[in-house]
Amino acid sequence: MTRPPLRAAAVLDRFGAQRVLAGALEEAFASRSIELELLSHRALVAGVSIVQDGRERPRVEPDRPLLWLSAADPSPDLTPDDRFLHSEVVAASRSIAMLSRSPVVNRPTPLSPCGRFPGSAVMGVRRVAGLPGLDVAVRCERFTAMQVGEVAGADEGPVASGAEVYDYATGRSAYGVADRVPGPVRTRRSLPSARLVRVRVAGRGVLAPGSVPRWFETASLDVARSYELQLATVWWLVDEAGRGTLARVDCWTWDRSLDGDAHLIADALAVWLLDEARAPDPGLPGLDAEVAVP
């Protein structure tokens, strides 16, 4: 008997910031005979129900594999009513992705809309330092703002020179501070002699420049696994001795940072999804135990 084709959906910004990724996914999944529907969060929610009868495990109908690739639909200039509807759609789609019994790439968890990745980029890096068995260097951080109208003294600015600075007022990052800024700013010690290396985790493998020592691939996989991510980008600062400092972890993938990897990412995700769809249902930890009432 012929098995029906696998049907999956990708939830992403297919007409905007993830258009290239969406196209690559369509091609890769078609080549592996997976029917892939590209959906906004609104479209996903329009076609799915969640049934909870209080006796059996929750049912997502229809339940199909998902690529959870964005947290929400774009939301420019919303009215208060639109904002409420936007929040409702976000909450509904997150529940669908959490409760689906099918494989979900970057499945949201009770702790985060994307795997277990924390809501702050700072914590996303800092918490890796505490992972058992993973000796990863991270930097101290400092957050400062002067009071409005205050001017920094000649010897005491908000930011030391030689720092990597993110300015919240402009949304720009820089090294050192040419002109003192009121901020707020986030600063970390800069590593001027280090080179920035990107390792992309996709499915069960990594995409990394050939010149990167294997340790970085393994460490990047460990970082992604610790956050329960199947698609992530891990950025390292590698010094002349080959030692690495974790610089950033991205749990969402946008076209602007694809750098030609779109088809490799898409293919890795298709392979992951096929493997997972064949595997027995592992259950949803903490969310689908049989109902037990005291």
């Binding site: 609104r42 929610v45 329009a46 129900s49 969640i50 909870q52 009868d53 209080g54 495990r57 929750p58 409420f84 509807l85 929040s87 409702e88 759609v89 976000v90 909450a91 509904a92 997150r94 529940s95 959490m98 409760l99 009770p110 702790l111 985060s112 809309p113 924390p118 809501g119 702050s120 980029a121 700072v122 914590m123 800092r126 918490r127 101290c140 951080e141 400092r142 957050f143 400062t144 703002a145 002067m146 009071q147 409005v148 205050e150 908000p158 919240y168 007022a169 949304g171 901020g183 707020p184 700013v185 986030r186 949803l284 903490g286 969310l287 689908d288 135990a289 109902v291 009432v293 005291p294």
Partner: protein
Amino acid sequence: MIGIAGSRADPVMVHFATRCVMREVPFAVIDLVDLAATGGWSLSVPPDGSDVFHGGEVVRPGELSGIYVRPIYLGRSPAEAARWQGLMDGFTAWMDETEVAVVNRPRHHQLNSSKPAHYAWLSASGLRVPPSLMSSDRERLAEFVRAGRAVVKPVCGTRATTREIAATDVDALPEPAGPLLVQRLVEGDDVRAHVVGEDVVACRFSSTAIDYRSDRQARRQRVDVPDALADLLVDLTAEQGLTFAGWDFKVDEAGDYWCLECNPMPGYSFYDRVCDGAVSDALVDVLGGWLS
């Protein structure tokens, strides 16, 4: 000294500060809204002794015994949003690593803002939860509503008055109207139980209104919940990474407790008045360092 981090415009913060005054507990106010608007700060991660807020008061957070935080954004302009983001990025990361007691720390469950998943977790955790349906399919929704009395609720964490829904209401909805969450109505009294650390403070409301909060005549009294349930709530609050949570129940004619939700940032002042300040007192004990 306890730190109170939030906004002076938040009645819950004012209520807690008032209780501190009544009990002669020293506290410092970290008005996050004012700080973001006009103040200054320096916070390091990991925390160190130089960390400071320069707002209406100068507060060194590392010197506090505990911090009660309720971050509510009230800004409007892009500039205000940028300053708020800068403040909260730093303060959240600081709270994630500090040894100072924080109610509640950043790494806790966010399920309350995604109700179907929240219900699944409550149910899997051993609580009795009313049946529900989340759908955009009008026919399915109408069928659920026709099968028994039901209420409609937001899917997200936005607070709203709970109201009963009829099948005709579903039919009258415009298309497309987005997702709808309907839940079987449980008739009976309401119980709000606050968990603070290992303490449980509960009060019960009797009302004919669907949402007792809209009924000023509702009878109210402090009560004890059954011991097994109290123990479970303490465990489940901790399991979510919370120190302080507000649990909502309906109690049916048979005396069974039906869990409606667990609120990770409860606006508890209304209930605290029913309980003669017992919730605030429990918070003071946790944050004042007198329990350790």
